[in-house]
């Protein structure tokens, strides 16, 4: 699997170069086509249930004063990553940046790259133009999320194969790598569902309670906003027909983390379904919980302007306001101007949160 993906990417990179050489042989300036990545070309795919880019295309040209440098840089990144693939070595975007941070020539007072930020947009260009992920180019990103639970993973890395049992990771869990596709294989997964909790603190609490063992689930935390690796892993687990439940703060940030997992984000809409989990469910914390559990009433926080503004914005998104339960939830936030953190569930006693989750799943008390 790893070999085939890498060689597929390799072929795409070579085709990119060959197409340009054909153009040059014909006496034309080299170009390549990419998808327009603007808000106006971002749409919600009803059939799949995620955000994705529309059909508007954009042609990048070398023969343009405005584009020549970026064009040259894009091709340089393509050429450099082809080398990474051939050598089977990985590096971060920052590492790539340093690989390419050299002068264009003795008589040219200009570097190929001067800042790392220059490379981000053109890596996205390559992802879209070649229909690949940056991970396919052996570019790594920082890891953040953790998992524990009944799952075994085969990791082919650095010329070795390691079998990793995620139920034997002790207090720290397994750190989700930036690429869960290339050289990574789920060997065995006996879990009944996936639980995603926003904060590492709550994850550690539940891990201590052996929650995942009792519930036979995979306990995941993205530690805030999900990395590409975490989102990709959740997608793969959902593909294994595992229900994905999310427990977030009841505030702007919590909602955003949830909806990014579910539908993807506006900024990375071009990633589409591979990075979205439309099946994901929002367990809590909800405004209704505040009514249902008396002790929570004393633990609410005053909603900030940003929370109310975010709630109002969300009511405007068609993929959110078609869920009546979400509309009611958000309207209540705007009305009461209250919010509540997931940590509040430990307010009564530390083990309450496990019961809460268990109960909610059993009673199917979630928002879509």
């Amino acid at each position: 699997m790893m070999a085939s993906t890498a060689s597929g990417t390799m072929t795409k990179l070579e085709a990119l170069g060959k197409n340009m050489v054909v153009q040059i042989d014909k006496g034309e300036g080299p170009t390549f086509e990419t998808t327009l990545r603007t808000r106006s070309n971002t749409l919600f795919d009803e059939a799949i249930g995620c955000l994705r880019s529309g059909d508007k295309k954009e042609t990048r040209k070398f023969l343009s004063v405005a584009q020549a440098r970026t064009f040259m840089q894009t091709v340089a990144v393509a050429a450099k990553t082809k080398q990474f693939l051939r050598e089977n070595l990985h590096t971060s975007i920052r590492g790539l940046f340093y690989q390419l941070k050299f002068t264009l020539g003795e008589d040219i007072d200009e570097d190929l790259f001067t800042e790392q930020s220059e490379s981000n947009a053109l890596i996205e260009d390559l992802e879209v133009a070649l229909k690949i992920k940056r991970e396919d180019l052996n570019l790594t990103t920082d890891r953040k999320g953790f998992v524990a639970g009944p799952m075994t993973i085969l990791d082919r890395f650095g010329g070795e194969e390691t079998l990793i049992d995620l139920s034997k990771q002790g207090r720290s869990g397994w750190s989700i790598p930036s690429d869960v596709d290339n050289g990574m294989e789920i060997k065995r997964c006996d879990a009944d569902y996936v639980l995603v909790v926003e904060k590492d603190a709550l994850w550690q609490r539940l891990n201590e309670d052996k929650f995942w063992k009792k519930e036979n689930c995979l306990l995941v935390t993205p530690k805030g906003q999900s990395t590409r690796g975490t989102r990709r892993l959740l997608r793969k687990l959902a593909d294994k027909k595992l229900p994905v439940y999310c427990l977030m703060d009841c505030d702007a940030w919590g909602w955003y983390i949830y909806w990014t997992i579910k539908t993807g984000s506006m900024n990375l809409a071009y990633l589409g379904r591979d990075f979205a989990v439309p099946e994901a469910r929002f367990l809590g914390v909800t405004m209704k919980d505040i009514r249902d559990f008396e002790f929570l009433q004393k633990l609410t926080i005053k909603a900030k302007d940003v929370d109310v503004k975010r709630a109002e914005e969300m009511l405007g998104y068609p993929w959110i306001n078609r869920h009546p339960d979400w509309v009611a939830e958000l309207k209540e936030v705007i009305k009461t101007r209250k919010k509540i953190e997931q940590d509040a569930l430990q307010g009564q006693r530390l083990t309450f949160v496990g019961e809460y989750i268990n109960n909610k799943i059993k009673k199917k008390q979630w928002l879509s």
Partner: protein, 543 residues
């Protein structure tokens, strides 16, 4: 030639006393200016005399400093003209004249005729010394010291000598105080430089007080055509003028004949056209019986008839090729556009025409000349009083940005404007500024605009070429890196790809403007459309 009309019409006025008290009216105010004015008066007289005698002018000017404190100089001006006959020498230099040529409709430089004698007077006033004149004329070499009796406006002539000679020409030497030599914008050097510019047929040599010799060589071996007297043109005539002419009319008994004989371009056919426009007016009656109303009707009818433009031969412009030649000789500019408008009239039918030359870059850059306006009236440089001058005012009123000239004062740009006319409306007897006349200003404006458009065309072409070159450079610097990466990706050889990319860039940025794709189209279409201010062409031709 000697006793020609030139010296016939002297009219004596006792104006010396008046000018003694009001010498600034002649332009003798300020030390530098006074010196320039002295040189100017003699040089213009020399040029006029040479041209009238059909001699290619060769003028020698020497300025010597007599005292170390400055302010005391000897000025010598020598020409190769016809000289002045003994009978007229004293009058020509020693008597203030209201004009030798003022009453004739003919273009000459020394229009008001007060020049030479004013200098003699100035010398006499400041040093008490007479002016030494040596005139070689008709085979005789006459030398004399000439002064002025201010009270009677009579010349004082002494030490007259006479001997035979084969040469011709006039040499005048005089001492002056209250003057100063400077190589400034208002000085003798600049004056002679501009004189040479506007008079490419003359050769000028200047010896400066420090003995430095400056030669402005002749660039055209031909004198300008001679001007002829012409009658006023009907389009320039007002009701009052018409009545004035009618009152002084003696030869013509009928209005029809009066019109034909008094004004230019009025033929029997044109009188018929006027008659058709004014059926109630009797064109057979005596012009002296013309009433104000009738005169007004005729003047109105004048404007409805299509006239041939005033005759060119009353005007002596520098000439397009002449301006070009001398501009190139003196400045060697990068670009030069010369416009010559056809003749027009102002006020009482006085013909005039405007020539404009605009030079940009080249020698102007190295000469550190920026936004230089060179004013001329009948090829005489106007160095002073530029504030109230029609030429300065007109140039100031032009929106130079429209012609891609960002800041007129900062650009290596020289604008020459010459007003040729039989009668130049100077603002004062100093003859250094042209008064604000709408008709003249319009013509100057149109001529400058026309020439500016030519310069702009050049500048925008140059800028476009520069932009294309810049684009080529911007894109071109990435060619090597691109070729190397494409070689890595495609497996082809870099050495094969790179020259092809270079060729593509070369072709792309050679074919622009117009061939540009997408966002970098070459020409800015908004640039050329809003520039078409109306420049009326003069009707008729010059025949």
């Amino acid at each position: 030639m000697a006793d020609s009309d030139m010296f016939k019409n002297f009219k004596e006025h006792s104006v010396a006393e008046f000018f003694k008290k009001n010498r600034q009216m002649l332009g003798f105010s300020g030390k530098v200016r006074s010196m320039t004015m002295i040189v100017h008066e003699f040089v213009t007289n020399s040029l006029d005399a040479c041209e009238e005698a059909a001699i290619l002018p060769e003028i020698f000017v020497q300025v010597e400093e007599l005292s170390k404190d400055g302010d005391h100089y000897r000025i010598t001006i020598k020409d190769n003209g016809p000289g002045i006959p003994k009978s007229h020498l004293a009058k020509a230099l020693g008597q203030m004249l209201a004009g030798t040529k003022f009453h004739r409709y003919i273009q000459q430089r020394g229009q008001q005729g007060i020049g030479g004698s004013a200098c003699v007077m100035f010398s006499y006033l400041t040093t008490g010394q007479p002016t030494r004149a040596v005139s070689c004329c008709n085979g005789k070499r006459i030398s004399a010291n000439i002064g002025i009796d201010f009270k009677s406006n009579k010349p004082i002539i002494e030490d007259v000598g006479e001997e035979p000679t084969l040469e011709t020409g006039l040499t005048v030497t005089a001492e002056f105080k209250d003057v100063r030599y400077e190589r400034s914008n208002h000085g003798v050097y600049e004056y002679l430089r501009r004189t040479a510019l506007a008079n490419p047929h003359c050769a000028i040599t200047l010896i400066e007080p420090n003995n430095e010799k400056v030669v402005f060589p002749r660039s055209i071996e031909q004198n300008p055509p001679k001007a002829f007297e012409i009658k006023p043109h009907p389009l320039g005539i007002g009701t009052h003028d018409l009545l004035e002419f009618a009152k002084h009319n003696k030869e013509n008994r009928r209005i029809s004949a009066f019109l034909q004989n008094t004004f230019s371009r009025v033929s029997a056919g044109k009188v018929d056209e006027l008659q058709a426009l004014l059926p109630e007016l009797d064109f057979k009656k005596d012009p002296s019986d013309l009433t104000w109303n009738e005169a007004e009707l005729i003047v109105k009818a004048f404007s409805k008839v299509k006239w041939i433009a005033p005759a060119m031969d009353s005007l002596v412009p520098i000439g397009k090729t002449q301006v070009e030649t001398s501009f190139r000789n003196i400045f060697n500019p990068e670009v030069l556009v010369v416009t010559e408008r056809s003749p027009k009239v102002y006020r009482g039918g006085i013909p005039f025409m405007v020539e404009v030359g605009i030079a940009y870059g080249g020698g102007l850059v190295s000469a550190e000349k920026r936004g230089e306006v060179m004013r001329f009236a009948n090829r005489v440089p106007l160095l002073f009083d530029n504030g109230g001058c029609a030429i300065t005012e007109t140039i100031k009123s032009i929106d130079w940005k429209r012609y891609d000239v960002k800041d007129f004062e900062e650009e290596p740009l020289a604008v020459l404007v010459n007003l040729a006319s039989v009668y130049v409306p100077y603002t004062s007897a100093g003859k250094q500024a042209i008064s604000i006349e709408e008709d003249i200003m319009d013509e100057i404006r149109f001529a400058v605009m026309e020439a500016s458009r030519g310069v702009q065309k050049y500048l925008s072409g140059k800028r476009k070429a520069h932009e294309i070159a810049t684009k080529k450079k911007v894109v071109g610097r990435y060619a090597t890196q691109l070729a190397s990466d494409l070689a890595t990706l495609s497996g082809k050889k870099k050495s094969e790809i790179e020259p092809k990319i270079a060729k593509i860039i070369e072709e792309k940025y050679a074919s622009e403007p117009g061939g540009g794709e997408g966002e970098e189209g070459g020409a800015d279409p908004s640039k050329n459309t809003d520039k078409n201010e109306d420049i009326p062409e003069s009707e008729g031709g010059d025949e």
